[in-house]
Amino acid sequence: MPSIERDFIPVENLTGGDRECDERPTETSRRRFLELMGASLALAGASGCTRQPPEFILPYVEPPEHAIPGRPRYYATAVPAFGGAEGVIVETHLGRPTKVEGNPAHPASLGAASVRSQASVLDLYDPDRAREVTYLGSTRTWDDFLSAFRLRIEPLRPRNGAGFRLLTETVCSPSLGAQIQAVLTAFPEAVWHQYEPAGDHSARAGAQLAFGRPLNCYFRLDHADVILALDSDFLACGRNSTRMARDFATRRRQGNRLDMNRLYAVECTVSATGGKADHRLPVRYSEVESVARELTNALTSKGAPPSSGKNSAWIAAAAQDLLAHRGRSAIIAGEQQSPVVHALAHQMNAALGNVGKTVNYTEPLEVRPEDEIESLRALMRDMDAGGVEVLLIVGGNPVYNAPADLAFAERLRKVKTAVHAGLHFDETSQLCDWHVPASHFFEEWSDTRAFDGTVTILQPMIEPLYETRSILALLDGIRQYPPRSSYEIVRAYWAGQHKGADFEAWWRKSVCDGLVADSAMPPIEPGLTAWQPQAAADQPGGPEVVFRPDPYIHDGSWSNNNWLQELPRPITKLTWDNAVHLSPTTARNLSLKNEDLVRLRCGARSVEGAVWISQGQPDDSVTVHLGFGRTRGGRAANGAGFNAYLLRTSDAMWAGAPLAIDKTGRTYRLATTQPQQEMAGRDLILENTPEGYRRDPDFVSRTQPEPPKDESLYPTWRYAEHAWGMSIDLTACVNCNACVAACQAENNIPVVGKEEVLRHRAMHWIRIDTYYKGDPERPTLYYQPVPCMQCENAPCELVCPVQATNHSSEGLNDMVYNRCVGTRYCSNNCPYKVRRFNFFLFQDWVTESIKMQRNPDVSVRSRGVMEKCTYCVQRIREAEIRATTQDRRIREGEIQTACQQSCPTQAIVFGDINRPDSQVSRLKAEKLNYALLAELNTRPRTTYLAELRNPNPVLKGEGV
C-alpha cells in the first residue's frame, strides 16, 4: 500500500460505506488478482476439469489508519473544468480511485457528475501518460531537469527575468495563481501568457463591452420561467451544465408538471439543448447576432417594431414571452457566440430586470482575466523578435490547438529553451526541449473554483503512479531547491488566506467537505456601459464553418480517454470521430451523403472530414468539432477524426467564412451507435403539453394501455420483500449521457473501439435513444434513456437454455455471467435490445493501469458472455448487507443506481415499488407513467413518465 501524504481526509459514510473488497492490498498483488480473475473467469466454465490456480494474499506490513480491506473509502475533491470546477466524491478501493461521483454539497454538482468528471478516473490510469522527464526524447531525472532549467534561467535573473515566458491555460486556481505571482515577483520582467483554446474569450470580451470589465456571470434557472438560449448548449455540455440542467429540470417539473418553464433556443448547430427546447430556431452562426439585435430592439423599445426578417414572428413571440416574465426569465449567450451577442444578452437581461434574480454577476473566476488571443499574439510577436529565451508551457497543447494563423509550431523553434509540462507527451512536448510529466489531479494537492467562485481544495487519493510532479511543485522548483510539495504549497497558501483562529479545523473541514464554506464570490450588480451595437454589417453569403469543442473530449485535452471517445455524442450518437455536419438541404445541393469525405477550405487552409447530415442544422452552415485529429495524443486519440484547428484562425475563433466544400469522391466510415433515428411511427415516446395534460390527464393510459394483470392463465409471481423499480422522466432527460458514462465506470463496461462500434457492438448498458420527428430541416427531437427494463415477464429469461438469466426474489432480471454460454437468444428476444454481448475479448486484460480502475464489486466479463444492466445489483446487495448487519430495513433512497446518481436532472429515480411511500412508487402512480411497448405484456419494472413540452401558443404552426 503506497501511503499517501499524511493529511488526506476521507468522507466517511457518505454513500455506501462498505463495499466488496479486493483482498490484496499491494499493487503487484492487485494486478495478479486481476490476472487471476481473468484466468479463472475464462476457466470457470471448465470448473469440472480445471483446477483453480493458487492465489496469494499479501497483507499490509503496517496497516494505515482506518483502512478496512474490502470496504471502499470516499474522498471529496473536484474536477477542474472549463467554466468552473465540479465537486466530486471519489470512491477508492485500497488506494485505487475507481469511480467518480458528484458531491451533493457542492453547488456545481448537487450530487450529479458530468461526463468528463466521470471519465477523469480513466485519465488517471491512461496508459499513455507521460511517465518520466525527457530531454529531447531521452529519459532524465527530475533533478536533471531542475538543475538544467536553473542553468537556463539564472542568466536571466540579472535582467529581471526578461526573456522568460510562461504559457498556461486559463488559471482559476488561487494557489496556482499565487505560485505564478511568486515566479513573476522573482522575475519581474518575465511575462505570463494564458491561452485556452475553447475558453471564455467571447464572454470576457462581451462583458468588457457591456460592463467595461470582465465579469463572471452565472444563472439561477430554478427561478426562470422563460429561458432563451442564444446558441448555448447550457443543458448538456456548456459551462456549469450539470447545475444548470438541474435547475432547469427542477423548474420544468414545478407544480405537478403543469407550471412548466419554457425554453427558446436559437442555434447554429444541433445541440442537446436545442433538442430539448420548446421552440428551436436554427439560424446560421452569423445570423445569431442579428437575431440578438432584433430581440434587444424588441425588448428595449416599447413594443416590438415590425420587423421584416424571416424569423420575425418567432422573435416577436419570444420577446413577448420574455417581457411577460420580467425578472423571471434568462437569456443565455453561448460560449462560442460573438462578444456582441454576449453584450446584447447582458443588456437584455438587464432590461428584463433579471440581474440579481436569475442572472448573477461576480468578480471573474480567473486569477488574471485577459484577452487570451491578444496575449498569445504578443507571445508570437516576441518569439519572432527573438525575445523569448525560455518558454515554460504549463499544461495545454498549443502546438496542436493554437490558432492556425499563428503558426505556433514554427515559432516555437525560435525559442532557445522550451519546456512543456503536461499529463501526456503530446504534439507540443515533441517540439520542446524538455518534457516534464505532470501529475493527475487525483494524485496531488491543488485548489480550484466553481462557477460561483466556491473553492474546493483538491486532495490526492493515490500516490503518483509514475515519476510525475504537480504543476505547483514544478513552479516552486523554479524559485527554490528543493521545491516544496504540493501539499505544503496549498496548505501554506490557505493558511495565509484563512482569517479565523483554528486553521487546522477549518482545513480539515474544507478538505473533507470538498468545498470551502462560504467561499462563493459575492454577487455584484454591475452598471452597463453606454455601448450600443453598431449597425449590422452585411452578412457574407455562402457556407460558413462553425467550430465547437467536442461535447466530451472538449478541446482535445480529453481525447485519449477511451470512455469519452466511445461515448455517443448527444444527438448524432457518433463515436470515435468528429464530422462535417451539414443540413439535409445543403447536403442535397452539394450532392453529398453521409460518410462522403469532403475537403473544407477556408482561404489557404484546408482539412478533410467526413460528412454527417444533421437534421435541424441551418443551411449553408457547417459545424465541425475541435479536439480530434491528434497525432501525439495516445492510442485512443491518434487517428480519431480530423483536426479542425487547422482551419481556425485567431480572428475567427468560433466561425469562419467563406468556406468552400469540395467533394473528394472518397468516403470515410463514421461509427454511430444509432443509425436509425426515425421512430417509424411507433408510440415509443408519449408527449403532450401541460395544457393538453390538464385537459386530458388520462391520455397516456389511453394511448399506451397497460395490459390487465390477471389476463394470464398463469398465476402472478409475488415479490414479498423488496421489488425494485425505476422511473425515467422524459421531460427531464437532456441527453447529456452522464448516465452512460457513470454506468460504464461503475460496471466495468469495456470499450470496443471504432471498428466494433461500426459493427454495432458497443457495450453501453444504458443508451439514450435520440429520435427526429417532422420536417428534417426543423425537426423535433426526442430523448429516451433505455436501460434494461427488468421485465417481470422477461422474454429473455424464457429462452435462455442454461438459466443464466432469471428473476431474483426482488424482481431483478439477474444476469449470471459465469453461467452464460453465449447463445445470444436472450438478446434476440429482448424487445428493447438492451443486452450486450462480448463478441470478442473486449475487456482489456493486458494494460496494467486500466485494471486498477475496475470496480471490484462487479465481475469482469470475458469473451462469449452476455451482459446487461441489473440496476447496479452490487449496490443493492451491499445496501442489504449493511442494513442487515445494522439490524434495520433499507432506507428509502439509500440505494442509488450509478445512472441515477450521476443524472444532473434527476430524471432517473430508483427504489422499492413495494413501498407506497417511496419516490419511485409516487412517480409510477402519476398519470404520465407508461411502460415502453406495454402491449407486449413484458411488465417492465422500468417505466417512463411521458414527456411534456411547453410550446408558446402564439407560435402554433411555426414549428417547435
Partner: protein, 216 residues
C-alpha cells in the same frame, strides 16, 4: 469365407457391448468423483505457506480470539489477514530469534508483505461477505471447520456451490446464537432444527437463493 469368427467371438461381442455401457457410466461417475474429490476442491489439503503458521497453537492452544488477527471479519466482506505488525506484537518478544519466523521479521524490516497462499479461494465471480454471515449467526467453524485443531490451515469444506446452497436453502440447520459465533468449541445441539428455526425467525434470516445474491 465360412466361419470366419471363432466361437469366442460371440462372448467377446457381448462383453464388448457390456463394457461399452458400463465404461460410459463408469467414466461419468469417475469424472464426477474427480470433481468432488480433494484433488479438485483441495478440501482438507494443507497449503504450503511462507511460515508454517499453526491455528492449533494460536487459536486452540493459546486461545487467541479469531478477531485479534482477522480484524475486519465483523465489518467487511473480507475477514482480514493480519498485517506483519500484528505478528510482531507478540513475536518481537516471544520466539524473537526463532529461525522459523525469519520471514516475518524480514517482512517487518523490509516493509515487504508476506505472501500467504490463499486457502479459502472462491472464484472471482462469487461475492461472499463475512460480516453479514457473522452477524446472522453463522459460526466461524461452520464453514472453516475446527481451525483451532489445525496445525496447518486447510479447507474444511469443498466451497462448491452445492455446499453453499445447503445452508442458503436451509439456514435453520446451521445457524447458531450470535454470541457463540466465534466459539470454536461450539457443537450444534441435538435440537438444532428447533433452535435454528427460532434463530431464523429472531434474526430475520432469509433463504437467499437468487443468483445475484452471490453473482453480480
Amino acid at each position: 469365407m465360412p466361419q470366419f469368427f471363432p466361437r469366442a467371438a460371440n462372448s467377446v461381442a457381448r462383453l464388448t457391448l457390456l463394457a461399452l455401457v458400463c465404461g460410459t457410466c463408469g467414466l461419468a461417475c469417475f469424472g464426477y468423483w474427480i470433481v468432488e474429490s480433494p484433488y479438485e476442491t483441495r478440501q482438507n489439503v494443507a497449503r504450503e505457506q511462507p511460515v508454517p503458521f499453526s491455528h492449533a497453537h494460536h487459536a486452540g492452544g493459546l486461545g487467541i480470539d479469531c478477531r485479534y488477527c482477522h480484524t475486519t471479519v465483523e465489518t467487511s466482506s473480507f475477514a482480514g489477514i493480519p498485517p506483519t505488525k500484528i505478528c510482531m506484537n507478540c513475536h518481537s518478544q516471544m520466539w524473537a530469534v526463532a529461525p522459523v519466523l525469519q520471514p516475518v521479521r524480514d517482512s517487518y524490516r523490509s516493509g515487504k508483505s508476506l505472501e500467504w497462499t490463499r486457502v479459502h479461494d472462491l472464484p472471482d465471480f462469487v461475492y461472499f461477505d463475512h460480516s453479514v454471515h457473522i452477524h446472522q449467526g453463522i459460526g466461524c467453524s461452520t464453514c472453516h471447520g475446527p481451525v483451532d485443531q489445525m496445525p496447518l490451515t486447510r479447507e474444511a469444506a469443498s466451497l462448491r456451490m452445492e455446499w453453499c446452497l445447503e445452508c442458503h436453502r436451509n439456514p435453520a440447520g446451521y445457524v447458531r446464537p450470535r454470541n457463540r459465533v466465534f466459539d470454536m468449541s461450539y457443537v450444534a445441539p441435538k435440537n438444532q432444527e428447533v433452535l435454528g428455526r427460532r434463530l431464523v425467525a429472531d434474526y430475520g434470516i432469509q433463504s437467499l437463493t437468487s443468483c445475484s445474491t452471490c453473482h453480480r
